[in-house]
Symmetry: C2
Subunit: 297 residues, 2 copies
């Protein structure tokens, strides 16, 4: 077993809790370069059975999985998602929230399809995501590598056309699956006490956690050659003070939290803030695109 | 290891693919009755580290996890979610999509928080769901049981108040965690060829799959005493014919698919159609509730 997250982050949990499943889960690293070798026979069905074993709201199973193995189509999805490795991995899975199936079932049973609200959209998205994560862990347990591809949402109408999606479905996330060409590197995450809150949400650990994570990520070199350019208008007060106002009203960090960091330190905070300072033009119309696919909010 | 999904559904995958991780994943069954026994020391941190090991879009980690162990608060959440076992399980986890943290980071770095579109909402929801599924598998690997609680969305404003959630966060899904009081039963799922599509989405296997699943679920007895009443207006043509029009236009099953089933057969189709024929009044205002919590679509 490669390095796992406990080792990477110098955590020392009780040894008796570190079973093979947890070792597997905490060894995840996204794989972006693949060998052309095909998957073992029957592997796809095992991955989908693992996906189907995830919890699903009211057992409605409001998702579909589309397996793309055709090389020509994988090249097309590599372009559409702007992820070259989609063309290299032998299998590309697309996880689709799916209310079309229930609509057919309502029609089949002679009942109206009445529950058309954002919560059903959320249920379908969560069903699809839980299934995707099970498939990811199952694949990694077979020695395969995976990478979740949010870029499948870069061109929602075109992807719906290529996948021949019926109304009330859409491609939420893709997943490349195949044998890693090179061993992937586990990424550091935010300190546990930034993600985990006790009884109530709290920002008490946030500033110290961000400071630590900035140091770790800056030192790790993951941003070498990947720095996001400072967006135009990044220094304008609007966004920041707007956020500040909301933050102050709702328990954001104190004065310390509002001090500008040393620009010499380009870590997760500066990288992520620059990322959020610009809207992703490919995604800005997502709601309208989903409404055109029959989704209701 | 208890029965797993391969055995339940009489599937016979290549034996060499059935490793311990896949056995674990395919043995999932939701647990709704718990022993009061506390979790092992350090288990919560292991579950959260497993959750943090899931893929997260652009490493933005747009989620938070709130651990509720206080008995009084668990009783409150049992009421709010209408799941009595939330009071019995020693741990209740709440998974929250979280853009508040990034807003604080933008403010901290002096950049505007510009990417405020539905895609960021989706990224945060998917991040939270992937983390939740990792925590679920990790918990089950320790011999604990879990149940995902969508009922946490029954009263979004009240839950946000009780958890002291800042703007741009919300409680997406809860999870009870504890030792099962009774061994849970794995539920049958839709046939694999209904969920899995090859290269393009297709309804070709749908009607036959629904027929098989209806028989299996009707025979399984899971709906005994749980039948959904026929909703008023269920026979009105509007919903059904509306769905039919969409269905016909978009490749729903043929005539066979539109024949009313024998009402004597109350299986997944009739149960799910009756469920979808009535809107869930607790959830109908979700979009407006989320907008009040600062979410933008």
């Amino acid at each position: 077993m490669n390095l796992n997250r406990f080792q990477l982050e110098n955590l020392s949990p009780p040894a008796e809790l570190l079973n093979a499943v947890i070792q597997q889960i905490t060894s995840h690293a996204s794989v972006r370069s693949y060998r052309p070798d095909p998957l073992p026979p029957g592997a796809l069905e095992v991955l989908v059975t693992a996906a189907q074993s995830a919890s699903t709201s009211s057992n409605l199973q409001t998702y579909s999985i589309i397996a793309i193995e055709d090389a020509e189509r994988r090249r097309l999805f590599a372009e559409l998602t702007r992820n070259a490795h989609v063309a290299d991995a032998p299998l590309f899975l697309v996880f689709c929230p799916d209310l079309h199936r229930l609509e057919v079932v309502c029609q089949r049973q002679g009942h109206p399809f009445a529950d058309r609200y954002m919560d059903m959209f959320l249920q379908a998205v969560v069903d699809a995501a839980l299934a995707a994560q099970n498939a990811a862990i199952a694949a990694e347990s077979m020695g395969l590598g995976i990478c979740m591809i949010g870029g499948i949402r870069n061109n929602v109408p075109k992807v719906a056309e290529v996948l021949r999606l019926p109304p009330r479905t859409f491609a939420l996330v893709g997943m490349t699956v195949g044998y890693p060409a090179t061993p992937p590197k586990i990424r550091h995450r935010l300190p546990l006490d930034v993600i985990l809150h006790r009884e109530v949400y709290s920002d008490d650990n946030l500033e110290e956690g961000l400071r630590r994570y900035d140091e770790v990520t800056a030192q790790s070199g993951i941003y070498a050659g990947r720095q996001v350019a400072v967006p135009s208008g990044a220094t304008q007060a609007t966004g920041a003070s707007d956020a500040g106002a909301k933050g102050r009203a709702q328990g954001a960090p104190g004065e310390g939290g509002r001090q500008r960091q040393d620009p010499a330190l380009y870590g997760w905070c500066e990288h992520s803030a620059r990322r959020m300072a610009r809207l992703n033009p490919d995604r800005a119309k997502l709601r309208q695109q989903l409404e055109m696919l029959g989704w209701e909010f």
